[in-house]
């Protein structure tokens, strides 16, 4: 393979590059300032100060207080801590009959980091209601309200969908949750850095974010825990920081996340409209160049960077590979650890028939996407789609039928 091949990264929803400013902020905390943030001595104190500075930065990004931020090993741990921690700590609500099981309300389009914990809760005897979404991937807040029971202890609804970009009406859901005094968790991993976040406006008690989706390092995340919210711990051990999570703090990672949060806050006003304009140009170009293309989730409010396109008569798995071989990185379905592609539960949840779910590809743009990148993508993708279709007998039949 030609090492000098042009590479265009359009998979920012999977992960983002570490911003140079973030890397620079992290570097002193590997070999130089290597202290344990929980140690008494000067080495430790220096790192404690850095961690607390980062906590301030993350709190500021979310409109929260520093004391409400728990650093975790990533978005997945933040979601797990929120869900297991809240359900375990919650008493059975007054008014529910004895022997009744706790109940959780969520949606059918959550990320696996929420979906799998909910499935595990079911195995542990908790009841979970998965509220369906509309064709755009948006859940109706009244349906969430309608699913609430006396035994409901937690509602978990994501802020922005990772595959479609669709925004969920979490603020409205928060009103219902507040009326019924039920805890609300929101997975904001895909919203952070793309939308202005304010935990008070959103109204969630628990909110998860991940550093590597906002140009920070992998392996760090944070959970906002509104003051007074009871959470049982997920992990047990020593060296807990002020947030109660045990384990020696990942100082370079946390410092990186803090810097990434500062950058996200400062660049949001300028960056988001720029990316939205690029994304819209990309979609217009694709619709113009490729017959029958559709945009999944196009009519709902979306994150500015995400474009989930349906290419009828194209096998998404083959398209992603063919594009990778041309230097364009995008994704189909949920990437699994071995790299296989499974049909996305999100695409089937919005009512796409299986063949359409298998023909959908996600392109996600970001801070470093340029006009040139998009021009290259718009040059490369249409002929590749054409080639894939020409090798698909169904497409040939459909094309013949059209001509007849």
């Amino acid at each position: 393979m030609n090492a000098a091949m042009r590479r265009v990264y359009l998979d920012y929803n999977a992960t983002t590059p570490v911003a140079p400013e973030v890397l620079e902020a992290m570097l002193p905390f590997f070999a130089g300032n290597y202290g344990n943030a929980s140690s008494i001595h000067a080495f430790g104190q220096k790192c404690r100060a850095a961690v607390e500075g980062a906590r301030d930065s993350v709190a500021k990004l979310l409109g929260a207080r520093a004391s409400e931020i728990v650093f975790t090993s990533g978005g997945t741990e933040a979601d797990n801590l929120a869900i297991f921690g809240a359900v375990s700590a919650a008493p059975l609500p007054a008014g529910s009959s004895a022997g009744e099981r706790k109940h959780v309300v969520t949606t059918t389009v959550e990320h696996a980091a929420v979906k799998s914990p909910c499935e595990e809760l079911e195995r542990r005897g908790v009841e979970v209601t998965y509220v369906p979404v509309n064709r755009e991937g948006r859940v109706c807040p009244e349906k969430i309200a309608g699913a609430i029971r006396p035994e409901t202890v937690l509602i978990s609804v994501m802020l922005a969908n990772n595959e479609l970009g669709t925004l969920e009406p979490v603020e409205r859901i928060a009103q219902f949750a507040a009326e019924k005094k039920i805890l609300l968790h929101t997975d904001a991993v895909q919203a952070a850095g793309k939308l202005a976040l304010d935990v008070h406006r959103i109204g969630a008690h628990l909110l998860s974010i991940s550093a590597h989706k906002i140009y920070g390092p992998k392996g760090v995340g944070a959970l906002y825990v509104r003051e007074g919210t009871q959470l049982d711990p997920l992990l047990f051990g020593g060296h807990g920081g002020r947030d109660g999570r045990p384990g020696t703090e990942n100082v370079p990672g946390i410092v990186g996340m803090g810097k990434a949060a500062d950058l996200a806050r400062m660049q949001l006003a300028e960056g988001s409209p720029r990316i939205a304009a690029l994304r819209d140009r990309f979609e217009r170009g694709m619709l113009a160049a490729i017959p029958l293309v559709r945009i999944n989730g196009c009519c709902a409010p979306r994150t500015p960077n995400t474009s989930n396109l349906l290419f009828p008569h194209v096998e998404a798995e083959a398209l992603v590979i063919a594009l990778d071989l041309k230097g364009i990185a995008c994704s189909a379905g949920a990437a699994c650890s071995s790299g296989t592609v499974e049909p996305s539960h999100v695409l089937t949840a919005i009512g796409l028939p299986m063949p359409d779910a298998h023909a959908s590809v996600r392109f996600s743009l970001g801070r470093y996407t340029t006009d040139d990148d998009l021009a290259y993508a718009l040059d490369v993708i249409p002929p590749v789609v054409q080639r894939l279709r020409s090798l698909n007998p169904q497409w040939r039949d459909a094309a013949v039928a059209e001509k007849a």
């Binding site: 990778d324 071989l325 790299g339 296989t340 592609v341 080639r387």
Partner: protein
């Protein structure tokens, strides 16, 4: 310049896809092609979710990670080592539909299937070639031990046994079509097992010392009876007509059996009947749900019918052909006359009666090293 060599010429510049299982053979294929300076793309098929049917796992083994065959990781390590792009393709649905389900159904119907031949026909050489072409590779290389050559006179592709007889896999490849063979290369066909290991070591492949796999890939430790039963249970299906009679060819009832799928023709052990002389399963009668047993000579057949024959060096033989015939992978090919039948089948008349001609197994016809064709024994 002939058409075939023109095709060869134009293909030269195209990348070649390699079906990489993570084993030493297919990894070595990738290494050989890289050494030749070809542009290589590694493809690994995810065929079966190892997390299914956990009760079949040997005690004490850890459940596999999410949709991972460790073999897919091995393939990726090899690809990284060789510096080639590598992709894992999810063929689980197709594999279950075209290989696993027919495998189970075939046993339930009293025959003994050859899943690897089915997999080659329905998974490896059809969708995989199609995917390879979609991503820009017109040819697919695999780690099979067999040879393909183009016959200028007949204008057809021919399949030949591997040079290393002990590794020959032509028994599983007789279903290849002309189109598939025109796009397939078997770089190991001319090599023996030891040279392949040697090349793997020289290329420092991470799998150079990995042991060979012998079993059906989706049936752990070869326990196909448990597999069938677990599979049906997982699917919420019951085992049809579990119990039945074990009778001699003369009609004498000797005992009872626990399901036809537990038996194969030629089987001697595990019949659960003792009559003081060695008895073998002669046939399985689905209709009466009976296992028919008899003595060694009753196991011999002078002839058998084969259905859906794929002929390779010619489209269809005009008259009966002389051939040597393999009726099992490990069978020593026996001389026979093959008479083509209307409807795509053939009748095989052995010169000497053959032992345990088993419905469901493949019968492959050879002329020396040349594979004439083959089909499933009826």
């Amino acid at each position: 310049m002939s058409r075939a060599s023109e095709i060869e010429e134009s293909k030269e510049r195209e990348p070649i896809a390699v079906a990489m299982s993570g084993g030493v053979d297919s990894s070595t294929v990738a290494a050989i092609l890289c050494e030749r300076g070809e542009s290589v793309i590694g493809l690994t098929m995810q065929l079966w979710d190892q997390r299914r049917l956990p009760e079949l796992r040997p005690l004490g083994t850890v459940p596999q990670r999410c949709c991972s065959l460790d073999d897919a990781y091995d393939a990726r390590r090899v690809a990284q080592h060789l510096g080639i792009p590598h992709y894992v393709l999810n063929y689980e649905d197709r594999f279950e539909e075209t290989v696993v389900r027919p495998f189970v159904d075939s046993y339930l119907a009293g025959s003994t299937p050859v899943p690897c031949a089915q997999c080659n026909t329905h998974v490896k050489f059809d969708p995989l070639i199609e995917t390879a072409r979609k991503i820009g590779a017109e040819r697919l290389a695999t780690g099979h031990y067999a040879r393909i050559r183009f016959n200028e006179t007949s204008g057809r592709y021919e399949l030949l046994r591997a040079v290393d007889e002990s590794k020959d896999q032509s028994y599983f490849l007789y279903g290849l079509t002309q189109e598939q063979m025109s796009r397939t290369i078997f770089p190991l066909g001319e090599l023996d097992k030891l040279s392949v290991r040697e090349i793997a070591r020289r290329a420092a492949l991470p799998v150079a010392e990995k042991p060979e796999s012998q079993e059906i890939c989706f049936v752990p430790s070869g326990h196909y009876v448990q597999f069938i039963e677990s599979y049906l249970t997982e699917r919420g299906e019951s085992l049809p007509e579990e119990e039945g009679e074990i009778v001699t060819t003369g009609g004498e009832v000797l005992g009872r059996h626990q399901g036809l799928h537990r038996f194969t023709v030629g089987q001697r052990r595990g019949l659960g009947v003792a009559v003081g002389r060695p008895l073998y399963v002669v046939s399985l009668d689905r209709g009466s749900n009976r296992v028919i047993v008899g003595e060694d000579e009753e196991l011999r057949s002078a002839a058998c019918d084969v259905r859906a024959v794929n002929w390779i060096p010619f489209a269809f033989p005009e008259r009966p052909v002389r051939a040597t015939v393999k009726i099992r992978n490990r069978h020593e090919a026996a001389s026979a006359t093959i008479e083509p039948l209307a409807g795509g089948g053939a009748r095989v008349q052995f010169d000497e009666p053959q032992r345990a001609v088993t419905p469901g197994q493949s019968a492959i016809f050879f002329d020396g090293d040349l594979v004439l064709g083959g089909g499933a024994i009826v």
